[in-house]
Symmetry: C2
Subunit: 338 residues, 2 copies
């Protein structure tokens, strides 16, 4: 790899002049030399040594994307198509802005922060990993951070979050079920924190608005770890007669459930109505096609990246950005009004 020094030597000028041309510092270099240098640069296909540049400038042009590793059926968050789409949006946006993306998968926020500080990353996007430890460590680290889909109130005080109007989404789809005559509606999820809590809340509010009281037993718990999945699916299927519809916290669970239902000979939507959330490939390709809440995942990634880039430029950004959702009606809800 050719260096500025070598180029300067060959052109018989100082490194500063070459460097000035590279950085387009007008008025510091004559038209003649500029052209001469530029031609030469092109000829030898000069590529700056980024380590030297970063060292001299104390920046890195790297944006870190940290992803929480998780341990369930889909083992690792990145295997979720959702995540892949998200990363795609982020990568595209930062690349266009001249940044590079370093991907880091771990469940240990402290470890990630160490990594981030060795690389002197300019900014950070955190997905699914903001626990209290994370907040404490991240705060010490003085670079811009944008969170994705974080529901930690504590976290919101410190970083800006790009998320979804989950509550509105489940409110709307639950209301849609109610409008179709359903009153015995379950909610299926694997926990009651974060996203799941927000979606549960929207569902509850819709019930309340229709004068339906929510009972603890309306919450159906799915356990996604491979070894427990089948068992929990069994438990859920045994309680089917109690409900006419189930709001699933995600398309993945909705489709998983529908497969289990079909295996047991129960028909959707004739025997029971099912709705999901996300509107991903699964929802679109399954038959019956899933009625669900649409979110634009790539847009979410783009927004997160844009927000971070703004912070990098020193602009203020709101603490909370909530992207809209909308209802997508397909074929898994039956109208049971008389």
């Amino acid at each position: 790899m050719i260096t500025i020094k070598e180029i300067a030597k060959q052109l018989n000028m100082s490194t500063t002049t070459v460097s000035n041309v590279i950085h387009g510092k007008a008025g510091e270099v004559s038209e003649d030399t500029r052209e001469k240098v530029e031609r030469f640069l092109k000829k030898v296909d000069y590529v700056p040594n980024i380590n030297a540049r970063n060292l001299a400038q104390n920046e890195s042009k790297i944006i870190g994307f940290a992803l929480k590793a998780r341990a369930d059926k889909y083992e690792n968050l990145i295997m979720d198509p959702f995540v892949a789409e998200l990363i795609g949006g982020v990568e595209e946006t930062i690349r266009n802005a001249g940044y590079f993306m370093m991907l880091y998968i771990s469940s240990d926020t402290v470890e990630i922060m160490r990594h981030v500080s060795t690389w002197n990353v300019d900014g950070l996007i955190l997905f699914g990993m903001l626990d209290d430890d994370g907040i404490r460590v991240s705060e010490r680290y003085k670079k811009p951070i944008v969170c994705l889909d974080t529901y930690s109130l504590e976290g919101l005080k410190h970083f800006t979050n790009v998320g979804l109007d989950d509550e509105q989404g489940t409110f709307e789809i639950t209301k849609y079920l109610i409008d179709n005559g359903h009153r015995k509606i379950a909610f299926l999820s694997d926990n009651t924190k974060g996203v799941d809590l927000a979606r549960l809340t929207g569902y509850k509010k819709a019930l309340q608005a229709a004068g339906i009281t929510f009972k603890e037993s309306d919450f159906l718990k799915i356990r996604p770890r491979t070894e427990e999945l089948e068992g929990s699916l069994n438990e859920i299927c045994e309680r089917l007669k109690e409900f006419t519809a189930i709001v699933c916290v995600s398309d993945l669970y909705a489709v998983t459930l529908m497969a289990a239902l079909q295996d047991r000979g129960v028909s959707v939507p004739d025997d029971i109505s099912i709705v999901g959330f996300d509107d991903n490939m699964l929802a679109q390709l399954h038959r019956p096609a899933l009625t669900t809440v649409h979110q634009d995942v790539k847009e979410k990634g783009i927004t997160a990246a844009d927000t971070l880039l703004k912070q990098l430029r020193g602009e203020k950004t709101p603490n909370q950005i909530k992207l809209p959702t909308h209802l997508v009606v397909r074929d898994t809800v039956k109208n049971i009004n008389k």
Copy 2:
């Protein structure tokens, strides 16, 4: 961020001593000083500046993962769950070996190589982007390169490829169809290059082995771009009576086709048998569950990363590594033997 120099000053010793402790150079430093320094390092939570280190050592500890951007229904390769799983395998492996992963998505090999050389990446994994241009540029770049799923014979001369025994996979599943009495078997794909060619070849060989002659019209072309998809699906569905089974080049296409079939009231496997390739989430969750060829994608990512790490250590690796596949029988093939 505290530097070695500052630490040396505070401890009243030279930077070399501190550096020696950091690098565990035994015998160059007394037990006393070693402990003293180590305690101090821990206390101030010293993190090396990687740019300075890389500059001094002329390495980067970065492994680039370059991904070809594509433009069809799923817009971008990374949105394919397959790719996400692959990346997961690679990232985990290199992280455990002390490397970092830089992700780069583009359709321009030349651009990628520029990026790679600015970062002085130690090694590179290329997925789906080895055209002739790519080979030419990559060759000039003297770092280890491992390709994933490349079928370019030219490329194989230069780099090692980690792939699948695709031919064997489709041979086996086509044979399975034949064993179940099928003789009018179509092959569905969107092109006849690379993976698709290898899979097509396995299918053809199985036909041949059973004394069935392949006709050009047995090739069913699907056009995956959003605006053309529905139209091509229509064309395919009109020709259904010509076949009793269809070998699809991927699960995605198999499931897409099955959805289209269900929409038109044709039943799988009663009216027609369908098989796929990959064994991904779609194949497992669809009903009827898809009979397909299984490949271990994560393993593929791990193998690619391991191979690259070996090359980084100066070990020789074979030009071609073919991972095995196996048949997964589910519910989309009907036995039509009398």
